[in-house]
Symmetry: C2
Subunit: 385 residues, 2 copies
């Protein structure tokens, strides 16, 4: 099925006034030379499987489809029927108003490539949440779709050490890191509100079993097909660690603090106790932990990240949305791993220690609500029965 | 109006099995010699004004009335009509089932003793929350009812330094401290659920303008009238600071951690991250701060306080109830003051620093909801309008 949808482009000036042109300032120098890799794919469209078509995944699918260099098979769960019937309704700062968007193909579950005799996937793009403390593990989820030694796995997910279980499960496959600040969420089933434009940094996680040149070529090719539509900026980066630590300033600090206090990124800037007594100290702890791990995050990034979302957007970051919706929270890779890395190097991280343990409590509560934790029954202590 | 209500006593053994006889173990030696003070009052009933008739206040009024040595005038707000019509319905671990309870007199607002030519109050018992960051201040609220140099003000409220504004507003009045662990809340208007029995420690805050012997006599007299019904244990303590710091182990630690994670005191014991990674470190910080201020809280108090509420009671402490009900949270005196005292003495308090700042954020959110904080309007950033 070819993708078909009505597309009303955004006004030319989609860059918000007062914001730097790159969301990734100050980023390391960008390698702009894109050498086409996987030359057979440039003739045929790349065969892309996309897991998770929520706010971020749908914008990813749209970017890949509008570029014309990829055909996306999306695996949907709760919104499958809706997407079948009428497609996605998207209001996007990058794409304008898009109605009835459907990827080339949609599925209800991860396909089994071998059993179903499908054409192997060139890329398997994972945009789902990464919640290692709640099964199933991502590697097991995607296993039936992965062709060993062939499919490139793209982790458009946050946090540290997320590649480790994937490389361990698929030792001969390339695993790429995708880091963007794309602010987009599904306000209701099929309704996508994309307010913070997409700019993505892509590079290989180092898989010691695969030639580096192949990993680099795969990353550059994915940059090419992802950015081909011209609606988003896709960059190659050889320094995945830097871009991941850099994003943790936002994600390990602003994100959970907004979630735990239920103040969005606008209100947390307006509330002195939030911005100055919680977010800044947490960000300085991430800077120290990053430095101990060999990544020098410039001091001015703290202010940059704190004010990245304009106040009047009143943007609830992902963890806040998850808690409000009674969903599990993705915090082990985003807060737990950087905390463990920092502590391992002797960095004091008192603010993030408390935040991490509060997230564990909140997750425990969610697990209890969903029946994953059993507790003894309530007793009456009033002596009146 | 004489108090009238049906009273079905609790079974004889109201002490829960497995719990120590005193909720205040290990407490300092109790001064059991009660010398009657204010001898005129032992003939007439003490004229008591009680401010705040919620969960704690209603049990206080009941204790005073059943002892027969006090006539209580209660100031009610939201539950005034209900109390007028049918009185309080109380299920109590100390008193059993009590139906249609009304104090001797009920009022809608704090009376003006001088203007209304009322008999001066011997005691003004304050059981309202103490929220210095949200006006009106308690001293201003009770001012019309206070007869200078006569009325004894009893602060049955938590935290540190709460007496300072009162002594400053009424320099010639005695101010008493009342510390109890009475676990009682109003589940709906007029419905009191009293699950954690009342045992109160009463002693004078030191007012340098009043003779110590008079302060001591007032405290001992109040102990006598409060405990006269035999349903509650009331003790005199000369060491108000110790009993207040001691209770902070529960109130500055368990209480806000339960509120912020929305796990009650049962669940927080079951959740390892709650009990061991948050509550215990916070309690050790309070112990260190108390020690720096001259109060030696024994190490075993940490376990005692953590397990004070039986798990299967699943008791939501006061701050958790307030947040759930969308009310302001009483945290400046309970968390802010001990934190400031500790930091002033150079005690590191990283856990409580984060907890305190989170509470400030949550209070800011509540203030915004109630219109006490104004924020700039929301803007649409999707470029689709």
């Amino acid at each position: 099925m070819a993708p078909s949808f009505s597309y009303r482009p955004a006004p030319l000036n989609t860059i918000r006034p007062g914001l730097p042109n790159s969301r990734h300032f100050p980023e390391r120098p960008i390698d702009t030379e894109i050498t086409p890799a996987f030359s057979t794919m440039t003739v045929d469209k790349a065969n892309v499987l996309l897991i998770g078509c929520g706010g971020i995944g749908t914008i990813g699918a749209l970017n890949l489809e509008v570029g014309g260099k990829a055909a996306v098979t999306a695996v949907l769960r709760s919104n499958y029927e809706m997407a079948q019937e009428k497609g996605f309704h998207i209001r996007s700062c990058d794409h304008g108003l898009v109605e009835g968007f459907r990827p080339s193909s949609i599925l209800k579950s991860v396909p089994d490539v071998e059993k179903e005799c499908l054409k192997p996937f060139n890329y398997i793009v994972c945009t789902t949440k990464n919640i290692p403390d709640v099964p199933p593990a991502l590697a097991e989820l995607i296993r039936p779709a992965v062709t060993p030694g062939h499919s490139v796995i793209v982790l458009a997910q946050n946090g540290l050490n997320i590649e480790k279980p994937l490389i361990s499960a698929f030792p001969d496959n390339i695993v790429l890191s995708g880091v963007s600040f794309c602010g987009s969420h599904e306000v209701e089933s099929g309704e996508i509100l994309h307010e913070d434009y997409d700019e993505i940094f892509i590079g290989p996680f180092h898989n010691p079993n695969v030639e580096w040149s192949a990993q680099e070529a795969a990353a550059k090719h994915f940059v090419d097909i992802y950015g081909a539509g011209g609606k988003t900026k896709a960059h190659f980066t050889a320094d995945v660690g830097f871009s991941r630590w850099r994003k943790l300033l936002y994600n390990a600090c602003l994100n959970p603090i907004c979630a735990l206090t239920d103040l969005d990124t606008g209100r947390i800037q307006l509330c002195e106790a939030g911005a100055n007594s919680l977010v800044r100290p947490a960000m300085e702890e991430i800077r120290s932990a990053a430095a101990a791990c060999g990544f020098d995050l410039p001091a001015e990034l703290v202010d940059f990240m704190l004010t990245l979302d304009p106040i009047q957007m009143y943007n609830p970051p992902s963890m806040q949305v998850d808690l409000r919706k009674g969903r599990f929270c993705e915090f082990e890779n985003i807060v737990g791993e950087p905390l463990r890395e920092g502590l391992k190097h002797g960095v004091p991280m008192p603010t993030l220690t408390v935040i991490y343990n509060m997230l564990r409590c909140v997750q425990w509560r969610m697990k209890e609500k969903k029946g994953l934790v059993e507790i003894p029954p309530h007793k009456d202590f009033t002596n009146t029965k």
